[in-house]
Amino acid sequence: MAKRPISNVTLSNRKWALGYTIAGALLFLIYQFLLPWNGLPDGIYRGVYQWMPPAAVNESLVYVIMALGLNIVVGYAGLLDLGYVAFWAIGGYCAGWFMSEFFYFLNIHFFGSVGLDRPGIHINFWMVLIIGGFVCALFGVLIGAPTLRLKSDYLALVTLGFGEIIPQVFFNGENFFGFNISNGTKGIVIVDPIPVGVKNLGPFDFGWKLLIFILLAAVMVFISLRLRRGRLGRAWLAIREDELAASMMGVPLMRTKLASYAVGAFAGGLGGVAFATHVNGVYAERFNFAISIFLLAMVVLGGMGNVWGVILGAFVLSWVNGTGLVAFGKTFNSQFGTNIDFASFTFLLFGLVLILMMLFRREGFLPESRLKLVLNEDELDTASEAKKAKK
């Protein structure tokens, strides 16, 4: 067995923090200063834009934030959540409500980033982040509360149900019992820019946005790691391992599960607000079941329960989905002089990517160290597979 620290408490977090900071700073420097630099060779400039455009990095980071939240529910506490997109939606609409002119009949400003003459509610981005996080956490508890008696798959169904209901409320929300709560499919467009002290971030300040998203992701990493090592994290693990035994050891199942929902949802809120500023608006159409599954795929593919794995999973999948497939198609066509319409093959390629990655790395890219233990248990199948080999 790998050497483990003598005490969880004295174990330093500095190592990851250093690595993370270096990686983050590097990314920031590249995108903020190197990319706009005029001396950058044209080929490199185009290459970066084709394979790793700044917006793709930012988007991936938002996915990272959310996947980390989902990981707390699915990876840590072992509760299958098929409706995580609901939290994204709620977070997003928090940004929509509190950082735009949506409530045009009001005029509330609180350290917002636009002029005081602008109608609507304009609360400071950083504050909205916190509001979004806590509103989502509250909803996490609300969603969790009626479902606690349920066993895993029934629980999954209830989360799925909420994942359908909440987005539908926003989707039809232009006329929700006579009130317009979401502007329906038209969405709430143009949310306020992010203020960073001296200025507001415009559409081409992606380097700074990147820095902010890196920071938010770091907060989630930090929360994940710290909680994991503490009293609550252990209780989650115990529930994942054996719910009944955990309750017999004095772990209150209800409260512990609710806590995982709440913390997970909190990340959804952060991500939702961040995403709204990323695309400059909130659109109801995004919030569908497919996105919940997409997030789940990030968690599983990356390596459930392992923060770094989940980060990698989120990066890889969001990149493949948004940039990789397109870039691959373009390069393929220009390399081989073909004129294949790759967009029409994305379902095929994306499906194959998921299947193959899972078949060849079933435990995820960076599995949790604990899970590695279980992976060798191929009792029956090894036997029958071996027989086939013999024949």
Binding site: M1, R4, P5, S7, N8, V9, T10, F222, I223, R226, L227, R229, G230, R231, L232, G233, R234, A235, L237, A238, E241, D242, L244, A245, A246, S247, M248, M249, G250, V251, P252, L253, A259, V263, R370, L371, L373, V374
Partner: protein
């Protein structure tokens, strides 16, 4: 001697089956009592009632003078009734130490924020908990496995870890369900010594379900016999050994 636990007139029914039938049962302080009886007599069911997993159809349970009949399992565990399982149920993918720390959950105070911020108080608390876990692991004799995953331990060590985990709850009563199943006579003997030491050094009472008569007879101060859910005898090992009803229903020609 006063009783830590008093179960009065406890009955449990499953549909039409009366698995436990009006059983009175007391556990005196610092004692070892045993529950024996034929298969399906209702022993495990009675355990499940004491630990709150099942609720009795009738009767009540008092712990240190407090009525705990309606408390949920995790509350019962946290106020001092700990158990092990007939089939081992450790948290296999957690280390021995973590298994114990989980059991200390209800005694620890730190919440989400203090854990995230790692306040000095939380650090102190965690360090103290770890020290205590180590002490218990040493006590049961698996101190060297602190950071080993539970599922990697050998069967015997897993049984020990189960006991250690239960001890981490700081129980007044420790319920052991067939702890020596799957142990050979040699190991069972070691276990008997361990139970004695437990009672003496940790200020608690042990209640045992066991089919191995050698173990039961040598360690128990009092034995209760259930048959078809009813208490058919109670007394010292000597009395039970010679009780004809017990011999007929349970011991057979009593080879032990």
């Amino acid at each position: 001697m006063t009783n830590v636990l008093e179960a009065k007139d406890v009955s449990v029914a499953f549909g039409g089956l009366l698995a436990v039938n009006s059983v009175d049962f007391n556990i005196p302080e610092q004692s070892v009592v045993s529950l024996i009886g034929p298969n399906g007599a209702g022993k495990t069911t009675f355990f499940n009632v004491l630990t709150g997993l099942y609720k009795p159809s009738a009767g009540s349970i008092q712990f240190n003078g407090r009525d705990i009949t309606d408390l949920p399992p995790h509350k019962i565990a946290s106020i001092g009734i700990a158990r092990t399982f007939q089939n081992i149920r450790l948290f296999g993918l957690m280390t021995a130490q973590e298994n114990l720390l989980v059991a200390m959950h209800s005694h620890l105070k730190s919440g989400i924020t203090s854990t995230i911020l790692r306040t000095p108080k939380q650090r102190r608390e965690e360090l103290a908990a770890e020290a205590k876990a180590q002490e218990i692991l040493d006590f049961v004799g698996i101190g060297k496995w602190t950071h080993e995953f539970a599922r990697n331990l050998s069967y015997g060590d897993q049984r020990r870890l189960e006991v250690a985990r239960a001890l981490a709850l700081d129980p007044k009563i420790l319920l052991l369900d067939e702890p020596t199943a799957g142990m050979n006579p040699q190991e069972s003997q070691v276990f008997v010594d361990f139970v004695r030491r437990l009672v003496k050094e940790r200020d608690l009472s042990v209640m045992l379900i066991e089919h191995d008569m050698k173990v039961v007879m040598s360690v128990s101060e009092r034995i209760t016999v259930l048959d078809q859910g009813e208490k058919i005898a109670e007394g010292s090992p000597e009395q039970i050994k010679n009780n004809p009803r017990v011999v007929e229903a349970y011991l057979g020609k009593a080879k032990s």
